[in-house]
Symmetry: C2
Subunit: 422 residues, 2 copies
C-alpha cells in the first residue's frame, strides 16, 4: 500500500478501448503517408538541452522536462541554478529533433527526404481537461525540396488522411509569412512592431476585425497604419478555387515591390495543384491572409486545416527553411505538416467511433473442475481457430457466469462456449 | 553551427530501413497477440520515483533517469541530495507501470485482464555496442488468473509470434522458483545463502557444472550441500516432451515435503498444454531446473526462450503474484512474458531480412522547366494511382538524373517516369 496508483500529474494511462482507436488511426496514417512516398523514422525522446533551448521552440522551451545529470557530472555542491544540474531534457516537439536527425544523417538519406514521424512529446503545461503533459504528435516533413511540390504533397497527403478517417467539409487555409510581412511593411508598420501585430491578427476568427483594430490601437499602433493593414483583408471573401488564386494575384499587385513575384506565383501554384486533386472531394483550399501560425521558425508558406464543426485547427504546418542551418551552417529547404493527433482521437471518441471489428471472436470458458488432462485438446482447438485468423480467448469460468458472458459479449466475443468437467 | 548533431549519449536515431523492419515486427506482434485475446494499453513514460525505487526493479533501479522538479517544488538552496531534486523518472521497464495501471483501473478492466504493451524504456547503462539507453520492450501479461491457463497462453502466444517471424528450432525453458527454493532447502542451504547460490547457478550454461561448483565453494558453501544441490540437476537430460514431465515428477518425489504437489502438477500441466500445440511445430519445451531468471519479483513459474544459434535468450518471463499487492494491499495473480524486441530486430537485420514489399511503386520526376500549369494534371494522375493502392513519389528531377534513378530503384521504385517541360 506504499506505492502510488495514479499516473504522475498531467499524464494518463490509456485504456484498451481508446488504445484500439489510437492504433487504428495510426495504421491509417502509416498507410496513407507511405502511399505519398514518406518513410518513417524515429528520434530519441531525450534531446540535448542546448538544442531544445535554441529559440526554435517558442513558448514550449519554458515547458521542458529536464533530466538530472548523473554520477560525476552531477555536482550538487557547486550547482548555482538548474542549468548546472541538467544537460538533457524530453523533446517538446518532433520538428527540432528531425532537424538534428537530418543534419546528422543527410548523407545516408534520399534527396528530397520525405519523413514521417510519430511519437510522444512532453510539455510541463498547467494540467487541464483534455490536455496532457505527454501526448502524441504525427508529422510529415520534406527536406531538401524548395519547390511547390513539397507544399502540394504535404497538403494532399494530410487531406487524403482526414478524408480516410471520415472527416468531411474541412478547409485548408494557406498563406505565406512573406505576404504578411509585406502587408505590414506596405502599411508603414516596422519590423519591430510587426510580430506583435501578427499575434493580434491571429485572433481575427475569435474577436473579429473590430476587435483586432481595438487591440492594435491599445498597443499604440497608429490608426492610419492599422486601417491600411486591415484594408488588405477586406477584399477577401469566401469564393471558388479560381477566385482564391485571383485574390492572391490581386493582393500581390497591391503590395507591389514589397513582395516578390515568386512568393505570389508559388502560392497560386500550390492552390491550383491541390484544387486539381480535391475537386471531387469534400474539402476546399482557401487563401487566408489572416493566417499567422504561432511558431517563429516559419519562413515562407504556412497552412492549417479547420473543421467547421470544431473550434480550433486540426492540422498545421509550413516552411521552415532556416532550422537545419542552425546545425550544419548550410541552409536546407524544409517544410512540414502536423496533424493534431490527440484532437482527432478526442473527436472520434466523442462521435462514438467504432473500429472496424474482427469477425468471429471466440471464447472458451473452462470449468474449474475440468481435469487438467482435458486442457491440451482445448488448446489445440484454440490454436486451429487462431490459425484460421480468429481471435480466441481461453479462460477460466467465473462463479457469476452470466456476468462474465455479458462482459465478453461487450468485448465483441460472438461465440462463447462453456466446457465442463465430466 | 551552435547546435549538436549527434543524439544524446547512448541513444540512437532510427534510419528508414531499420524502421521498416521494426514496424513490420510490431505489426506481427500486434496481430499475433490480438488473436490470443490480448488488448493493447499504454502507460506514461514518466513514473513516480517512489514507484520506480520500490525494490521491484533490481539492478535497474540504479539506472533511472531522474527528472528535475520544476517551479516552486524545486528548492535548490535546500537540496541535500538528488532525492530532494526529483520525484519522477523515466520508466526502466513495462512491468512496474503495468502493476500501477492495473491497481488504478482494475474496476474498468475484464477479469482476467490480458494486456499487451509496447514502448520505450530507459536505462542509464554504460553505453556499448548494440546496447542503448532508450530501447523498446514488448510485453504480454495476464492479471487475475492464478491457473496454468495463464502460463500456457503466454508461452503459446510468444512461440507463435517467433514462428511467424521466421525463427525455428527454438527452445522454451520452464521451471518454478519454488522448485529452486525446495532444492536449496532439501540440500541444507539456508534462505540467506540461497539467493547467492541462484545467481551462480544461473551461469550454468556459461561455466558448466564444475564451474558452478567451484564458485559455490569460493562463496563458502559447504561441499556436501553443493553436491546435494547439484545432484538434483544431474538426472536431467535432453529428452522428448513426455520425459520432460517425468523429469518434473521425479524431481518432485525427490524433494518430498520441500515442495507442494500443486507446484509439481502445475508445471506438468503447462508442459503438456504447450506440447499439445507445438507437436507439429519447429520448437520444443523443456523442463530446465537450472533456470533462475534475474528479477527478484518472480514468485512461481519462470520461463525463457533460447535460439540455439544465438547466445542469450530472446524472451523471458514468469509469475509475479506479489507486485500489484504493493499498490493495493490485495494480492492479484500476475504472469508475464517479454520478448527481446531489440535482439530480434538485430538478428533480423544480421540475417538480411527483407520486409515483404509494396508492388508497383511509381516515381514521377518533374523537369525544372516544366510549366507550373502542367503540375495539377500530374498531381491528379498521382492521386488516381494512390487510390489504386500504389505508392507514388512526385519529385523534382535532379541534375544527375542517372544517380537519382539508381537511388530510386534501390528504394524500390519500379516505374520511374520522367516528365519534361515543352
Amino acid at each position: 500500500m506504499d506505492l502510488v496508483k495514479k499516473p504522475v500529474t498531467g499524464m494518463k494511462d490509456i485504456l484498451p478501448q481508446e488504445m484500439k482507436i489510437r492504433n487504428y488511426v495510426l495504421q491509417q496514417v502509416r498507410e496513407t503517408y507511405s502511399k505519398y512516398g514518406f518513410t518513417e523514422i524515429e528520434t530519441p525522446i531525450v534531446e540535448h538541452l542546448g538544442n531544445l533551448c535554441s529559440n526554435q521552440g517558442g513558448e514550449n522551451e519554458k515547458l521542458i522536462f529536464r533530466i538530472l545529470k548523473r554520477g560525476e557530472k552531477l555536482k550538487l555542491d557547486e550547482a548555482k541554478d538548474v542549468s548546472d544540474l541538467s544537460d538533457s531534457g524530453l523533446r517538446y516537439d518532433l520538428t527540432l529533433p528531425l532537424s538534428r536527425y537530418y543534419s546528422n544523417h543527410s548523407a545516408e538519406l534520399p534527396v528530397p527526404f520525405k519523413a514521417f514521424q510519430t511519437g510522444s512529446v512532453f510539455r510541463a503545461d498547467r494540467p487541464q481537461r483534455g490536455r496532457f503533459r505527454q501526448f502524441t504528435q504525427c508529422d510529415i516533413d520534406i527536406l531538401g525540396d524548395s519547390s511547390v511540390l513539397a507544399e502540394t504533397e504535404l497538403i494532399l497527403a494530410t487531406s487524403s488522411l482526414l478524408l480516410k478517417l471520415g472527416f468531411k467539409g474541412f478547409t485548408v487555409h494557406i498563406s505565406d509569412r512573406k505576404l504578411l510581412k509585406a502587408m505590414a511593411a506596405a502599411s508603414g508598420i516596422d519590423e519591430n512592431e510587426a510580430s506583435e501585430v501578427f499575434i493580434v491578427l491571429d485572433k481575427m476568427d475569435k474577436i473579429g476585425i473590430e476587435g483586432v483594430k481595438e487591440e492594435l490601437l491599445q498597443k499604440g499602433i497608429a490608426s492610419e497604419r492599422i486601417d491600411s493593414f486591415l484594408g488588405f483583408f477586406l477584399f477577401k471573401q469566401d469564393s471558388s478555387a479560381e477566385d482564391e488564386t485571383h485574390a492572391v494575384s490581386e493582393l500581390g499587385e497591391k503590395l507591389g515591390d514589397n513582395v516578390s513575384s515568386d512568393t505570389v506565383s508559388s502560392l497560386i501554384s500550390i492552390i491550383k495543384n491541390v484544387s486539381a486533386v480535391q475537386k471531387n472531394s469534400d474539402y476546399r483550399i482557401i487563401f487566408d491572409p489572416c493566417l499567422v501560425r504561432g511558431m517563429s521558425y516559419y519562413t515562407g508558406t504556412i497552412f492549417e486545416i479547420t473543421i467547421d464543426s470544431f473550434g480550433s485547427s486540426i492540422a498545421g504546418g509550413g516552411r521552415y527553411d532556416g532550422m537545419v542551418e542552425r546545425f550544419t551552417g548550410k541552409a536546407v529547404p524544409a517544410c512540414g505538416f502536423s496533424i493534431g493527433f490527440e484532437r482527432i482521437i478526442t473527436m472520434l471518441i466523442e462521435q462514438g467511433f467504432k473500429v472496424p471489428g474482427d469477425d468471429g471472436k471466440v471464447a472458451f470458458l473452462l470449468d474449474k473442475k475440468l481435469s487438467s488432462e482435458k486442457i491440451p485438446e482445448i488448446m489445440e482447438r484454440a490454436n486451429n481457430l487462431r490459425e484460421e485468423g480468429k481471435v480466441v480467448l481461453v479462460t477460466g469460468m467465473m462463479k457469476n457466469k452470466k456476468f462474465q458472458k455479458e462482459n465478453l459479449s461487450q468485448e465483441g466475443y460472438q461465440t462463447i462456449e462453456e466446457i465442463f468437467g465430466n
